[in-house]
């Protein structure tokens, strides 16, 4: 028997380490420590209901486990073979408990390729990776010529998962054709999209899959050095990578003459330091060289002149994680999954106002509706769906009418968003779209490297215009100005950051024009989020005169006699919301 415990960042924050200790103690108390193995894995994906504990071989999936539940799990489930019912997931529609994850709505539509091992193996034990075909693909590659391997990747149709969607095989081919005394394989683990944690989860849950793929890439292009550029904000992923690199060296899977092939390859790590633009590959390379992470003009592409001026192939974590499986199962197997021009699956970090926040992997071509309603379990607290944002700060906000769009690189671009690296944020009726655009612009302004004027100054102006609108001081002309300025920034910025930064503005204007108009014409924020446009009012019909609100108002602007309807002085009100939170009769609302 095995007990698997999620050791992902989300579950760790909810004390999953203590659950492990308690389980081990409880097993010891029963003298079962040799029969039952307790294994810490990477993220299971269902972070919303974490911490997750799974029992094998019967696949029982326990959710929201607390450290104090450990004894009961051991005494009931392990010793007596009875499931602990209260820790099982309850299907919200059928109101039945589900014990096997396979039958949960959250997992049913998922196909796990990049995440194949996350939540199944102990990432700190190379043996577990090897027992699931790990490093088999590398061995297989040594029996082929580098060009054969490149051809498999080309034929599979794999496209870069870092955002751009460039065909991976083609990129490898370019790098392999450039002759040089030294070449490099770089793994981009900078994952800058705020609210996305795909790459992090792969590195935490299955670091060897990335190391193996980097070695395969090195073999195809003739590089003997790999570098992983990872955010310093990801301490657990860094730790697990270090362990994995150490073990791979020990097993002769990294280092000199790997598996007797005569091929040498080793991997080292470089740390980012909190600059989103360093995810852009030229900036990333400068950062690796110890410089400020400012992008430079392409060409030259990294494949010609990258790290230390040598041919360099940069791929994203998730792109790499797909590679070993493609080698093992074949190009045809992979290209049978997905849509015409986007093959395989995509991992998304599903977050926001959705019931099942978590990490999911779906075949390309799955619709947004399926993701949000079937996998995501719909909108939180029974609210109304309003928008879904993909592509992070470079992407756009899509609406109800896009829900049946099959997700792939080209479809998302066509509707004014983009695939991006995999952030997917769901918003409901309480989210103001102008504020959302402002939120992203605030991010861009902070993260622009400042090298070119349209991005450095233009985005600031965009932010100011949006701020003016949310303050209720905007005009119709400002909306036109936003559009024109956006077009200029897109056309004249040097790197991808500036070229895409107006997307959140343009897509919200396009899809939520009425909301912009309501802000400028009627000075109203329908979502009730823009403070300057809100007024707190008491409904005299509902107010019973309990005085609670008046006693809690920090500026004493609510008046009224006991048992009589109260009134808010809107001039003095500072819109803190305390009264509305306190009123037990829902008599206070925002208008």
């Amino acid at each position: 028997m095995h007990i698997l415990i999620c050791g992902g960042t989300g579950c760790r924050a909810s004390k999953s380490e203590l659950i492990q200790t308690n389980l081990e103690d409880a097993l010891k108390a029963k003298g079962l420590e040799d029969e039952v193995q307790v294994v810490t894995t990477g993220c299971f994906g269902f972070c919303e209901k974490g911490p997750i504990v799974k029992i094998l071989p019967d696949n029982t999936f326990y959710i929201e486990v607390k450290p104090e539940d450990a004894t009961e799990i051991v005494e009931e489930h392990i010793v007596k073979g009875r499931q602990v019912m209260r820790l099982l997931y309850t299907d919200p529609d059928k109101k039945e408990t589900v014990s096997d994850a396979k039958n949960m709505g959250f997992y049913k539509k998922q196909i796990r390729i990049a995440l194949r091992n996350c939540g199944f193996i102990n990432p700190e034990n190379i043996e577990e990776y090897i027992s699931r075909d790990g490093y088999g693909a590398l061995g297989k590659c040594f029996e082929m010529t580098p060009q054969d391997v490149i051809d498999i990747i080309k034929k599979s149709g794999l496209r870069g998962r870092g955002g751009g969607g460039f065909p991976t095989g083609l990129k490898w081919e370019f790098a392999s054709k450039n002759e040089a005394d030294q070449k490099y394989v770089v793994c981009n683990a900078d994952e800058g999209d705020p609210g996305a944690f795909m790459d992090r989860s792969i590195l935490e849950g299955d670091p060897h899959s990335v190391l193996e793929a980097m070695a395969i890439c090195g073999y195809t292009m003739g590089a003997d050095k790999g570098v992983i550029y990872i955010r310093a904000e990801y301490p657990l992923a860094i730790e697990r990578l270090k362990v994995a690199i150490g073990q791979a060296r020990e097993y002769g899977l990294l280092g000199k003459d790997i598996l007797g092939s005569g091929f040498n390859f080793d991997v080292e790590m470089r740390y980012g330091a909190g600059a989103f633009v360093c995810g852009e590959e030229t900036a990333l390379i400068h950062s690796m060289e110890g410089l400020r992470g400012e992008p430079t003009v392409k060409p030259p592409f990294p494949a010609e002149s990258g790290y230390n001026g040598k041919p360099t192939n940069v791929n994203n974590v998730e792109t790499f994680a797909n590679v070993p499986v493609i080698i093992n199962k074949g190009a045809d197997w992979f290209s049978a999954i997905g849509t015409d021009k986007s093959k395989g699956t995509k991992v998304f970090a599903l977050a926001g106002k959705i019931n099942n926040v978590g990490l999911i992997e779906v075949p390309m071509g799955t619709t947004l509706r399926e993701v949000i309603y079937e996998i995501g379990g719909g909108i939180k607290d029974g609210k109304k769906f309003k928008a879904v944002q993909t592509g992070g700060p470079s992407g756009g906000c899509l609406t109800e009418r896009h829900l049946d769009t099959p997700i792939d690189f080209d479809n998302l671009l066509a509707v004014g968003s983009m695939m991006g690296s995999g952030g997917m944020i769901v918003m409901d009726e309480d989210d103001c779209m102008v504020s959302m655009a402002k939120f992203y612009l605030d991010f861009t302004v902070e993260e622009s490297c400042g090298k070119c004027t349209p991005c450095r100054v233009g985005n600031k102006r965009l932010y100011e215009l949006l701020d003016k609108i949310t303050e209720g001081k905007g005009t119709r002309e400002d909306i036109d100005l936003l559009r024109n300025l956006s077009a200029v920034i897109k056309d004249t910025s040097l790197c991808g950051l500036g070229q895409t930064s107006p997307n959140p503005v343009l897509s919200t204007i396009e899809n939520f024009y009425d909301e912009y108009m309501a802000h400028v014409d009627d000075h109203k924020c329908v979502a009730g989020q823009c403070k300057a446009l809100m007024q707190y009012v008491v409904d005299p019909e509902l107010c019973v005169g309990c005085t609670l609100c008046a006693r809690n108002c920090p500026v004493d602007c609510i008046t009224g006699e006991r048992k009589e309807a109260h009134v808010i002085d809107v001039e003095k009100c500072i819109k803190c919301g305390a009264c509305m939170d306190k009123c037990k009769f829902n008599a206070i609302s925002i208008q």
């Binding site: 919303e48 904000e233 110890g290 977050a351 926001g352 944020i425």
Partner: protein
């Protein structure tokens, strides 16, 4: 060059860190990470020693330190509070949580309370979006934080 006012043992520690990276200028970011890990922040004097040891200009070191938001030139509080302002946390109300921290501690973002106990900063996604809104204090992570929880959280660290 400006006179270096750092205590001798600290200078030695820095020299040692630089040496562990073979005094290579291209290792600057790694050196800065190590130095900040050791001293908690990177004041001008520390940057001067690093520049000298790696054989690069102080301006270059300063340029790199100020480019990356992870590096700081001011000391953080004993309990550094970071409020996640990633998108997932933002849409689940992180702004209100931030306001509450600012209100209770009476310091703006990026500053430390007078007693040196707390400092407030924002970060973008710690990867625990399932628990949004997320706040970290030192090594600890708090999930599903609401403005109402702030006082209780601070209480844990106050005495």
């Amino acid at each position: 060059m400006a006179k270096i006012k750092l205590a001798k043992d600290k200078v030695e520690k820095l020299i040692e860190i630089c040496k562990s990276f073979n005094n290579e200028g291209s290792e600057l970011i790694n050196v800065l990470h190590k130095a900040q890990g050791t001293f908690g922040y990177l004041p001008a004097e520390v940057q001067e020693v690093i520049a000298r040891e790696l054989g690069v200009s102080v301006a270059h070191v300063y340029g790199v330190v100020t480019f990356y938001s992870f590096f700081t030139m001011v000391p953080k509080g004993e309990f550094p509070i970071s409020i996640c302002m990633g998108t997932a946390c933002y849409v689940r109300g992180a702004e209100k949580v931030l306001e509450e921290f600012k209100k209770q501690l009476k310091v703006p973002i990026g500053e430390t309370t007078e007693d040196g106990k707390f400092s407030i900063s924002c970060l973008r996604c710690v990867g625990a979006c399932g628990l949004a809104p997320v706040v970290t204090i030192g090594e600890r992570t708090y999930g599903r934080v609401s403005a109402g929880d702030v006082a209780d959280i601070l209480k844990e660290y106050r005495n």
